[in-house]
Point group: C2
Chain length 320, copies 2
């Protein structure tokens, strides 16, 4: 079974590749070759099967067609221009997030083998005008270009699936917290950095108040859910191939308390609390809680408390 991971050099793509290396199969089919693509050629994760790293700009249609000329059985599409950057560089975001996804859908269709296509959308697809609560039936009214581009891709993924061109499964990810590495251009970057940096002895700024609730999920849970998405039987998806996966809604103040509970009180002292109106405006447009009934029905994994997010960061990712 051949697998492609776009954004395969990013933290989530790397963790996913590592999870596959350990699992060795998907739906009972042995993995034979996993390709990690990214804008720069990534070093593939070691695995008991063939692995390759390739440079691929998903907005380059010819390059995508070439990369997918030998069809893949499963495609995990994680490559994206994140929210803050897509807001500042509109054309780049549109080219990668929308046209890049379409290039992959189309190349996957041309392969003729109806591959499983796991598409990553975002809770940023919600926003704007909605009713009383966010459920599986809530209108997507994103208030960022990133969210709009992701949501447009969702519609096309479901349509390509309905037509039988591919077997799509789209997940609206919560904010993935605590993510390793460096701060990035996502408006949600602080949701990791206010834990990661203090736990590594550095200061970090929180641009929102303690009462802001973050709809989040730990990297371990999200990776498990990406794998699960590829394994849910096609018939169980129903008429909508995209859904919000479970997350947990936690106050920033309670997240900080969880860090103190797990790692002691020193870290919290390294957080500064300077408001950032640009970040706040984006974040306030995002849902802070939602009901994910369909995903729970389909067996997606749920986080059990923010202490786990901290603990798993200490176990998996801390750099000292």
């Amino acid at each position: 079974m051949r697998v492609l991971i776009t954004g395969g050099g990013g933290f989530l793509g790397t963790k996913l590749a590592a999870a596959l290396a350990k699992k060795r199969e998907l739906n009972g089919h042995e993995l034979t070759h996993v390709v990690q693509s990214d804008i720069f050629e990534p070093t593939p994760v070691e695995a008991p099967y063939k692995t390759t790293g390739i440079a691929l700009d998903v907005s380059d249609k010819d390059a995508v067609n070439a990369a997918l000329a030998e069809p893949f059985d499963v495609i995990f599409h994680l490559a994206a221009i994140v929210s803050g950057q897509a807001e500042l560089e509109f054309d780049l975001g549109l080219n990668i997030n929308l046209f890049g996804s379409l290039n992959l859908f189309e190349a996957a269709r041309q392969g003729g083998n109806k591959p499983v296509f796991v598409y990553t959308s975002s809770c940023a697809a919600y926003g704007g005008e909605w009713g009383d609560e966010i459920t599986d039936f809530t209108f997507l009214n994103p208030q960022t270009s990133y969210g709009a581009q992701k949501a447009a891709g969702e519609l096309l993924l479901t349509d390509y699936s309905r037509k039988g061109f591919l077997d799509g499964r789209g997940l609206r990810l919560p904010s993935v917290t605590v993510r390793p590495g460096k701060p990035n251009a996502a408006a949600s970057s602080f949701m990791s950095s206010i834990f990661r940096e203090p736990l590594q002895g550095e200061s970090a700024n929180c641009p929102v108040g303690e009462d802001y609730r973050v709809w989040n999920s730990a990297p371990r849970t999200v990776v498990a859910n990406l794998v699960h998405a590829a394994e849910v039987p096609e018939d169980n998806w129903g008429m909508n191939r995209c859904l919000a996966i479970p997350g947990q809604s936690v106050r920033v103040g309670d997240m900080v308390q969880a860090m103190t509970n797990v790692a002691g009180s020193n870290a919290a002292g390294l957080i500064t609390w300077n408001e950032d109106k640009f970040i706040q405006k984006i974040c306030e447009g995002w849902p802070q809680d939602m009901k994910t009934d369909k995903a729970i029905r389909l067996g997606f994994h749920q986080d059990k408390g923010f202490e786990d997010n901290i603990l798993w960061f200490l176990e998996d990712d801390i750099q000292r």
Copy 2:
């Protein structure tokens, strides 16, 4: 004030051009030039200002840029590949309905004058999985490629508007009934032909049963709503630039009775009732009723009964 109508050679575009010719202004600004574009050069409607007909394939990016090189103040985008055809010719539908709309959004943005952009979506954007009823907050889960392409365009229209690139207003039109002319490749074509053909002395087939409810609006109402869309103050649109405009939910049997009430009983006898599974499957995916609170709040017009649809067809469009 310069106005562009794409799909300007179609029945709705022609009626809209005629309505503008009579009104002579939009939002108090005198019309100076109305361009009707279509895939074949249409004959422009006579008007007390400059009128032009041009051939324009909206999927041709260079041609769109050339046609919009001199900016328009208001763009009505009606050009589309309809539901039945987009289902059979997937690539054509995608190219015209999605990429064509994007070409127009982008050319409108490049003009730098933030034009009013009236975008026509469809109640076919609804479907699939939804909750108890369809409201302004109901998830769009289209079950046709046409609906998916229109819904994806909606997301981008709202985003282009949020960014200030244009001033978008997207309307999900009900089935426009009774439309003049010939049957077309829309799966909803029968919703007009079972009235139009019999009223003109010809037979027509109804592929669905009497109890199927059609979410419909008369051409006069829809044209009035397209004009209204261009005149609602920008601030009133809120964070979502797209909405379902009002319609009426009427059983096919009651529509036929309305025809008999207005035009006598001969016409109904010319309807045949042979089921068509392909058409039924598409139609059953469409909403048969919905709540359009936001549109009503914004002053959009509402139909008052299907007798009007029949009467106005006899007054405006019948060919004998």
